[in-house]
């Protein structure tokens, strides 16, 4: 991102160890996909040496949204569905902060769907991680917007009755979306590379991680786990790479230019495979940060004169 010189911050020469980013011991269930994202984000913070005091993880409510507690940075564990507006507010006048948003399929795609759509359009410099396990876990097994048709839950004991929403097609349909990627929790190296690419992109980077809930959706990804040809690995020099040895594990690969929005949409709509990698990136999308940071460097004296002038306009 463009560095904003607004606050007189000393450059940080302090070196941080991996443990500097680890907060409370995670209370997620063993086998939960959330652990993979947490490991990747902590590693990213370490690799980038992000100052913990200038890193903010914002979440909503749900299993995934406990994420900030397990980081040793600033965190905001707020309201169900409302992580996006908070994160945008945090970033608006503090461009010096590194802001992550961690959300779940209920939090992002149901109760917070309106904010999700507009956050993608605002395209502020946020790294967004959607932990999508196709189910409400914390409230014990209710249908989520991404629950597959026919999948049994406590709210639909005979199976979900409406086809699921595709977070990828939604994200790719929003004007000014600038980064859309997908990864799977059982490929930790790919999870890391995806989150890293997302962090490095200036704008709202939207990463969906497919993962299971060990209690309520334990088997939903058995097929692609057992048969890697069900994963479509998108390759491109501008995309998300993997080291060659790991790449060999993905027999089904295609070249996809992440600037090709039409092709990205076509891939996202496929129901026979799970696309993996960077679907779309636009480095020229408008960043709302450029508007929200307006006037940040204004000296107090200049501000005072402007306020006096504003009052004077009402003098009779």
């Amino acid at each position: 991102m463009q560095p904003f010189k607004i606050l007189d911050l000393e450059p940080h020469e302090q070196h941080h160890d991996p443990k500097d980013y680890a907060g409370a011991l995670p209370r997620w269930c063993p086998g939960c996909g959330d652990h993979s994202a947490l490991n990747a984000v902590q590693k990213l913070c370490y690799d980038k040496q992000l100052p913990p005091e200038r890193t903010v993880v914002v979440s909503g409510i749900g299993c995934s949204s406990r994420f900030p507690h397990y980081m040793n940075t600033y965190g905001f564990h707020g309201l169900h569905g409302r992580a996006f507006p908070v994160a945008c507010g945090v970033k608006s006048r503090r461009p010096d902060l590194h802001v992550f948003v961690v959300t779940g399929d209920g939090d992002c795609c149901a109760i917070g769907a309106g904010h999700w759509i507009h956050a993608l359009r605002y395209n502020m410099d946020l790294t967004v991680i959607l932990l999508d396990n196709n189910v409400y876990g914390l409230t014990k097994n209710q249908t989520s917007p991404t629950t597959r048709l026919g999948e049994h839950t406590n709210t639909h004991p005979r199976g979900a009755v409406v086809p699921p929403l595709s977070p990828l097609t939604v994200a790719l349909g929003i004007t000014n979306t600038s980064f859309v990627a997908q990864t799977v929790d059982w490929q930790p190296a790919h999870v890391y590379n995806t989150i890293r690419a997302a962090y490095e992109h200036r704008g709202t980077s939207f990463v969906r991680i497919l993962q299971r809930c060990p209690h309520f959706s334990a088997h939903i990804f058995d097929a692609p786990r057992e048969d890697p040809s069900l994963l479509l690995f998108m390759e491109h020099e501008q995309g998300i790479s993997l080291e060659p040895a790991k790449l060999q594990k993905f027999p089904n690969r295609m070249t996809h230019d992440p600037q090709n929005l039409d092709e990205a949409r076509a891939i996202a709509e496929r129901e026979d495979i799970y696309p993996l990698g960077l679907l779309y990136r636009n480095e020229n999308a408008v960043c709302y940060d450029d508007f929200t940071s307006r006037g940040l460097g204004m000296p107090q004296a200049e501000r005072q004169v402007a306020i006096r002038t504003a009052i004077d306009k009402f003098v009779i």
């Binding site: 903010v56 600033y74 309201l79 503090r94 107090q300 501000r303 402007a306 009402f314």
Partner: protein, 590 residues
Amino acid sequence: MFADLLTRNGNGIWTVEIIPAEIEPPKRSRAGASGYRIRIGSHAVTNAGDTADIVVAFNEQVLYSRIDSGALRPGTLIFTDGSWLADPNERVAKQYMDAVADFRARGYIVITLPIAEECLKYADDVRKGKNIWILGLLCAIYDLDQAPVHQNITNRFSKKGEETVRKNIALFSAGYEWALQHVEQRFHIPSIANTKPMVVMNGNQAIALGIMAAGIEVCSMYPITPATSASHFLASAFEQVGGIVHQAEDEIAAIGFAVGCSYAGKTAVTITSGPGLALKTEFIGLAVMTEVPLVIVVVQRGGPSTGLPTKVEQGDLMAALHASPGDSPKIIMAPATIEECFHFMITARKLAEEFRSPVMVLSDANLATGQQPFAKPVFDPAWLAPPLDLSPVEPGSLPFAWDPETGLSRRPIPGQRGGEYVLTSLAHDEHSHVAYEASINQRAMRMRSRKLSVLQSALQPPALHGDPEGDLLVVGWGSTLGTIEEAVDRLRSERKRVSSVHLRFLSPLEPGLKAIFSRFRKVITIEVNYSDDVGDPYITEESRRYSPLAQLLRAHTLVDIDCWSRVPGSPLPPAAIEQRLREELSKVVA
């Protein structure tokens, strides 16, 4: 423009904008036409007053809605637009003649104006000329000099070119001359030249200016009447002052964004009205729970639901007080004048930060759109928020190190090394760790509640208007200050033992109320709110529902406080209050 001229002249004014809920209501409908009410005095005018002396009606049908609302009296001078007589639709001309005859029968003095004919002498389009022509007419009737008005017109239209200025001055002079020749009535309202510099603005502009003067850099909002105009002003003013208006995707996102800003150290404001307040309540609870400083302005309108979007009411007091799931102690202030709309914003930001709490400022449609002159605020740089302190936090300090005596604690701000913590909307302890033990919740609730008690101890008891004891005490809050005091003054001039007190803090309440109430034989609240009437045959003493302030004060003081409240969608006239107080007094004294 007329109000502006009068204030420049040194007259006191109070204006009320009458705004329909639609942009273009059907032509000639009885309800729904917009209007502007101006009360003029030699001294400061504190309210909209009773009945009108003069009415200018471009459409005579709308006068029926004004008659219904009690705005006219026998002897009111009505100017109507006679152009309707020439309307191609014969029914319109007949309707016009019938209405004028009816008005005269009701005792009004009606003068028909040849607006179209006169304006077309100077302008191509009557619609663009008639306001200035009428301004000329009014200036003649009110005995104002022409020269300053010419200057005013020149200033206003100079951007549009000399030709436009010339046309408008000609229209003004024509209206002025027409009045001199055709209208006998004159009003001369002496003015006292202003000794101090004065400003004139409406309540929303005052709030917007106050936001800037408080050093708030972010106003996060979603459009809602009658609050939005404050953000219009800020959107352009912030360009010079350095700040932003964030127009969010909805009311919830608007407050969420403001909370995010505040959490990151830049205390923000969100502006809304009743329906928006309803949507924001979950975040208000979060701000209380997580002790995020935040200023929430609620410009109240008629409710419930969409209600009367452009009209005045004070119905959101209880909604504000209880906005949030669970117990949510928060600071609530209510400016009573436009001048207070300005200054309360500065206090609100300071209180929000000192008490680490949301502060709600309840204005209303009457203050929002009314214009009033007041002494120009002398800007003090100390009003501004101090620059962000990002120095490292002392090792071992906690995000909620509640002082057991005050409940106050200092919050770390992202960027402060050593202060890293995870704010959580869940019940939490001093470390901001999720509270899994019952005792922590009890203690945390007590600490958040204690802050209000501390604030109350720092407040002064409210000042009384009138004697400190007597037969009747009127309690009000918000924009009704002027009208209540005028009614009280009228009765006091007859040596009636009535006083009033006006509350600026609703949470915590100002101290000493019970002692003040105890010195009067009866206490009654007057509000622009709904309450069941005592005389209603379907209402019993047990079932009667009181207006919000009365409910609050009864619960708070255990004094048997009565209420009188109405929801006419317009400010309460002093005469109506006076009449009601007279009735109460006769009961009390008997």
